[in-house]
Symmetry: C2
Subunit: 360 residues, 2 copies
């Protein structure tokens, strides 16, 4: 049934049934003028919002409604991870054409609610706004942090080393697989709107790269907000600054450098790439590095830490979270980001990665 | 300069300059992965979001960029008023075409920041997302309330009287003046998209209604979130349920009735109308009642209160806030809303007021 043929009141009744009673920190959930959340004593509120726009951040042929909702909430939660916060409540607003099926809206909400639950948060409200045009999901994520323990972008010091969690470039490779634009890897955002998937290759399951393709597509579809790592880093005085990689390594390192008033040097040979990413790049005869440097949406944490503390933190993340951390550079006096090759030349950075206004 | 020709980093630098350092409860504002807000001890968080979409909630020919930003934030703050919360921090996300002028974006943000300041909150972050299509402002409003003192929609009891603040219908009359669709007053939302203002009448300053037109347009342009009243009502045990009137009196009374599991009877002759609203309706030969019943966006508070406590609350609101409260009905057993004429007939309620999916 189309949303136009249902009433908002009936629709909301369905959503409330779907989500059940308030719980966790959410004292009052969907159905009132606002949500009411219990604040844990002695904690600060961490508050962020993140919009997912059809054609810009996702396409319906790539993701089911459930996956679109799940992805939107996971992306928003990554901002909480980058602050070292513990998630509490999520609001999800759908901007959707009244001609869409109510089942689409329900799928989006179910996916969002499930992502919230997965990470210890709860879907506590939101809005549904009818308008023509591309589907849009606006997510508000809230969490709590011990005052002074929040990770910011602004504390990096010369002498710190730069570390990153997990592997980079998989999400961009997955996006390239979905769009079929393997070589248009710089600025994945920009390629989304322009390319119609016309050159999509079909990957037979028997193809030697089939597993690798599935793996990188899964990284695009279901990003992992590094919430436990963020909280672990927030407890250490040696961690001076952090950001999640949503715009691409080069650009996000730039945000860290700018906010901290320092320069960051990255070494290309140390950037962690997954086996799948390497396999695919090799098969395609491509350099995987641009996926990692400018692809974006890896949602790994990039952080600056006192150099003598780095090994212990890497050990702790490995032992308690099973998550590898890699040292990929260092903080120096100056400004900007320099990406160095092993032979000592520096990589001229293409104007890539996510930029909300530019498409190249 | 078009947004496309500026960079996000430069744009954000401008925004930070505009908004200055963090302050109030906002410990960390714009420029990081999330905002950090100090929670006052022993308070609960109240959290809401509200989207303003061009063509649906406003048109650029009616409002300056500053006014659009201001209005979007004022509307979101009204949800906090309806909960009895004290505002703390606002996030403002702009969804805007990269071809728009950067001055438009700045005007929107300035307006939003000013509305926040006016009501004791602070603009603490947000996002700017480039996409083609209608302009959109997504506002997140946060505030705090003493646990258990929040006003909800669900506590109305049979025997309560129904009260409303201020006057109703002005915003719908203002919208009708702006669109020139004086008679299409039921469901102001629905008329917005369809009517091109083609029948707009020009109001000479010398016209006897010129002042009234200006006054009702101002009510549409700059809604007043009843924050002080909400907090006053929240302190009284006699106030059992509340909502802000955004969808129209009839529909919002319906929300209260549904959430409380009661029926609400409203008496048309008691509904408070401004002199300006009456003057205009008389001049146009229209009944002003539909503006009040189904027009929406008055952002007055509608609440249910123990009948013996109503006079004291009205006196308190008058004396401390200069705000008139009017008793317009009562709560009974049953369900739904009944609108009674003085002669004892009940008004068949048109399917009007805001509905996100329907346009009639």
């Amino acid at each position: 049934m189309r949303l136009r043929d249902t009433s908002e009141v009936e629709f909301l009744r369905g959503v409330r049934q779907l989500l059940g009673e308030a719980g966790g920190r959410v004292r009052l959930g969907i159905g009132d003028d606002a949500a009411v959340i219990d604040c844990p004593p002695g904690r600060s509120l961490v508050l962020t919002c993140d919009a997912s726009v059809e054609g810009r951040h996702f396409r319906r042929e790539w993701l089911s409604p459930h996956e679109i909702g799940e992805r939107a909430v996971r992306c928003a939660l990554s901002d909480l991870a980058a602050m070292g916060a513990e998630p509490a409540a999520i609001l999800l607003t759908l901007i959707i054409s009244p001609d869409e099926d109510a089942a689409l809206a329900q799928g989006l909400i179910e996916g969002g609610a499930q992502a919230a639950e997965t990470f210890g948060a709860r879907l506590a409200g939101g809005e549904t706004v009818g308008r023509e045009g591309p589907l849009e999901l606006d997510v508000v994520a809230t969490g709590f942090v011990e005052p002074g323990r929040e990770l910011t972008r602004s504390g990096a010091c010369p002498g710190d080393v730069v570390m990153v969690s997990g592997t980079l470039g998989d999400s961009a490779a997955g996006l390239a697989a979905l769009t079929g634009t393997w070589d248009a890897v710089a600025g994945s955002a920009g390629t989304l709107a322009g390319s119609g998937g016309s050159r999509r290759r079909s990957w037979d399951r028997a193809h030697p790269c089939a597993h690798a393709v599935e793996a990188v597509i899964a990284r695009y579809k279901r990003p992992e907000p590094r919430l436990a790592l963020g909280q672990l880093l927030g407890r250490s005085d040696a961690v001076h600054a952090a950001i999640d990689i949503s715009d691409g390594l080069a650009r996000d390192a730039g945000h860290l450098a700018e906010q901290s008033g320092v320069a960051i040097v990255l070494h290309t040979e140390t950037i962690p790439l997954s086996t799948e990413c390497r396999t695919l790049a090799e098969h395609l005869g491509l350099d995987p590095l641009p996926w990692a440097l400018t692809g974006g949406e890896d949602f790994e944490l990039l952080f600056c830490v006192r150099s003598d503390a780095a090994p212990a933190i890497a050990r702790l993340a490995h032992d308690s979270l099973g998550l590898p951390l890699t040292t990929i550079g260092e903080v120096t006096e100056g400004h900007g980001v320099c990406v160095m090759h092993p032979d000592g030349t520096d990589l001229p950075l293409r104007q890539g990665g996510w930029d909300q206004f530019r498409s190249t």
